[in-house]
């Protein structure tokens, strides 16, 4: 999937993957896609909850090479 920006949250624990994902989205334009990579297993549920509550669409959530990969489309 194409994306406009990437944020690597590998090694970070709750709440940093979410809080820093939000920071990464701040300077993006509506409709742009952010790819987030994380190693915190808690980020799977958290990213879905973040997307649901903020209106940023979680286009894809999956695992890749032992890491969690998310694609968020900025609202």
């Amino acid at each position: 999937m194409n994306f406009d920006k990437e944020f690597d949250a590998s090694g970070l624990a709750c709440p940093l993957p979410i809080v820093k994902t939000k920071k990464s989205l701040n300077d993006m334009a509506s409709g742009q896609v952010l790819r987030v990579v994380a190693t915190d297993p808690g980020s799977v549920c958290d990213m879905a909850a973040f997307a649901e509550q903020t209106g940023n669409a979680l286009l894809q959530s999956g695992e890749e090479g032992g890491k969690y990969v998310f694609f968020l489309k900025k609202a």
Partner: protein, 156 residues
């Protein structure tokens, strides 16, 4: 959708109890919530410029996991608190847990409002210069005004 609001009363100044208010506040702010933390009693420690004194003690803390079983009488010995604190901090760093200072900065960047309880600031004889910038000072009535409008209100 109306902006959700959360108010937290932070009353504890030990390392483990310092985290929940800052974790929840930074997360709620990332979700677009309007957040205030009212720091009172030992919670005021979290507003100090220097957070290095924030510690954890194995004493009277039977749930704290220790590398080796430790009788209570050993936990009383001088240096045990410092040792437990440095071990905990090292473990947190290894696991990618943010430092308190980092979480506090993230809260302030995300416009979480920090309010220091004036009564306990005076009680413990803190100076405003002991605290970071951007702190407001207020009392219970000021807290209730915001707390009464919140969706989530926590005492930690």
């Amino acid at each position: 959708m109306a902006t959700k609001k959360m108010a937290i009363i932070a009353t504890k100044g030990a390392l483990d109890m310092a985290y929940p208010p800052l974790i929840l506040a930074s997360t709620a702010a990332a979700l677009g919530w309007d957040v205030q933390i009212f720091f009172t009693f030992y919670g005021l420690q979290l507003l100090r410029k220097d957070l290095s004194g924030i510690a954890i003690s194995p004493l009277a803390n039977p749930a704290m996991p220790m590398p080796v079983p430790m009788p209570v009488i050993v936990s009383v010995l001088p240096g045990m608190q410092a040792m437990a604190t440095s071990m905990m901090k090292a473990k947190m760093k290894k696991k990618g847990v943010a430092s308190l200072a980092e979480l506090r900065d993230l809260c302030q960047e995300a416009d979480v409002k920090f309010i220091a309880c004036q009564m306990t600031v005076d009680l413990f004889e803190f100076e405003k210069s002991d605290f970071i910038d951007g702190v407001e000072y207020g009392g219970a009535a000021m807290f209730m005004k915001f707390a009464g409008e919140t969706d989530v209100c926590l005492f930690i």
